[in-house]
């Protein structure tokens, strides 16, 4: 059965609580900050919010249920979406369906986390039952170690080189240098990338995201409501998600996108060549390459050649992670699952002042989350369109 489209749904008001390397505040402070920015950006009252989707790692033991009490909202539609890097697109999908069905009129979608000396280690040590028993005791490398193994297998399967990973990271740094929201804006050359210290071979320092604190958010409502509120908005042309895809693959050389990308492009009514910018989930450049393949920008195993022939800067042949991505903006926990979506919205709204992609009409955004054991389990993607 073909999924219903997302016609009539508006995404409004991309907001970011500026990222910080560390913070004394708890996750609720960041999530409440995102909500406050959404109210300021939209001009609506807190009581107008009748739907809420929230994601966070460090808010626990609280969830969106407790958070609703903290911030004094009474939603009739409430989601808690622990999908990590896929949580933004999953939130978009849940919120859009709620709006289409009339279960909510205005849904606030927010994600955020704090960061301090111990929060990241605590998160990794208790990430999942499988991780606690069968991953973390093996040197406590966290996702760096797990993705290093995937990167090693991917390089041998496809001929990808460290210079391919470096090309993506360097282009993103150049994009970040124009984005005041990015935490990492120092010069980064390919030589520096290649000479950087190893974290988990073949991954070096600049392959790995920097954990930080921060939050992102956006509003989902009907186009009619957005027009009535005079809010500029972005359309959802298509969106997919898939969890625990291809469990029989011994090593993850593909995410779930391959299973659903045809449905995504059919729903969007355009193809991969018709987007002007791509925002992938870049916890590591190698994972961005899996997304290029999975979403049909190139064939399976051909991302290295694809990377070599494109320029990924804002003025390049395929602007990619145009605000700097997580590699240069930082990974604010679950907000990393929102970053690409919020950046694509800014681009399509013409609000990326200083790093705007010219004539951006369609954007592809993808998310990838939750390395429970040996692979990322949640894959999601959306095609957004300028209205």
């Amino acid at each position: 059965m073909t999924a219903r489209d997302y016609r009539g749904v508006a995404l409004c008001c991309p907001v970011t609580v500026p990222y910080l390397r560390r913070s004394p505040h708890g996750a609720a402070w960041f999530l409440a900050g995102a909500l406050r920015l959404l109210l300021q950006a939209s001009g609506i009252a807190k009581t107008d919010i009748d739907g809420l989707c929230a994601s966070s790692f460090t808010l626990l033991p609280d969830t969106s249920v407790a958070f609703a009490q903290h911030v004094g909202v009474s939603p009739r539609f409430l989601e808690w979406l622990p999908m990590g890097g896929a949580c933004g697109i999953v939130a978009l999908r849940r919120a859009a369906r709620a709006v289409q069905a009339g279960d909510a009129e205005i849904v606030a979608c927010i994600a955020g986390d704090t960061a301090n000396e111990t929060s990241f280690r605590d998160l990794l040590a208790g990430f999942s039952t499988f991780a606690r028993e069968a991953v973390y005791p093996y040197g406590a490398g966290g996702p760096n170690a797990s993705f290093a193994l995937i990167a090693d297998a991917y390089m041998r399967a496809t001929g990808a080189t460290r210079a391919d990973f470096g090309k993506l990271a360097v282009a993103q740094r150049r994009n970040a240098q124009r984005n005041p929201l990015a935490l990492l804006r120092g010069d980064l050359s390919l030589d520096q990338f290649l000479a950087a210290r190893m974290i988990a071979e073949p991954l070096c320092l600049y392959d790995c995201v920097m954990p930080c604190a921060g939050a992102d958010g956006f509003l989902v409502m009907s186009e009619d409501r957005a027009r009535h509120l005079r809010l500029p908005f972005v359309a959802v042309c298509g969106a997919i998600e898939r969890h625990n895809a291809f469990p029989g693959d011994p090593v993850q050389l593909r995410g779930g996108w391959a299973q659903d990308r045809d449905a995504l492009w059919a729903q969007a009514g355009i193809g991969p060549a018709d987007v002007q910018l791509v925002e992938t989930y870049d916890d590591y450049p190698v994972i961005a390459m899996l997304q290029f393949e999975g979403l049909g920008l190139c064939a399976e195993g051909e991302a290295p050649a694809f990377v070599r022939r494109h320029d990924f800067t804002v003025e390049g042949t395929l602007p990619h992670n145009t605000g700097g991505g997580q590699l240069s903006m930082g990974q604010a926990g679950a907000a990393g699952g929102y970053l690409g979506l919020v950046e694509a919205m800014r681009q399509l709204l013409g609000a990326a002042h200083g790093w705007q992609v010219a004539k951006a009409r369609h954007a592809l955004v993808s998310g990838f989350g939750m390395i429970n054991y040996d692979r990322g389990l949640c894959s999601a993607a959306a095609v957004l369109g300028r209205v």
Partner: protein, 101 residues
């Protein structure tokens, strides 16, 4: 001894362990024990950074992703000479952690 779970109902082996068979959902899972189990190295990495102070003195640590002949995939410590594609034997080492060589 190294122990791998096997389903008494459908015969599927699995790792990490769980209270039921991930294939057929039967809860009749048994343990199969051996001194060592054959496996093949799928990928390897040398870890230079750890989030736990207790590992830092031992860095770099060599890690491997290995697939048991019985099917499941495990993360383990890997001997230096075991390259990707190599056939190895996996044992239970210190602290009840898997080691392959």
């Amino acid at each position: 001894m190294i122990r791998l779970q096997r389903c008494a109902t459908c015969g599927t082996s699995q790792y990490p362990p769980r209270a039921f068979c991930g294939a057929c959902l039967s809860d009749a899972v048994m343990w199969e024990e051996a001194d060592a189990l054959p496996a093949r190295v799928l990928a390897r990495s040398r870890l230079h950074h750890s989030n736990e102070p207790r590992f830092r003195a031992r860095l770099p640590l060599t890690l491997g992703l290995v697939q048991f002949a019985a099917g499941p995939v495990a993360l383990c410590f890997l001997a230096e000479q075991a390259v990707a594609g190599a056939d190895v034997r996996v044992r239970m080492g210190a602290d009840d952690l898997l080691e392959a060589e």
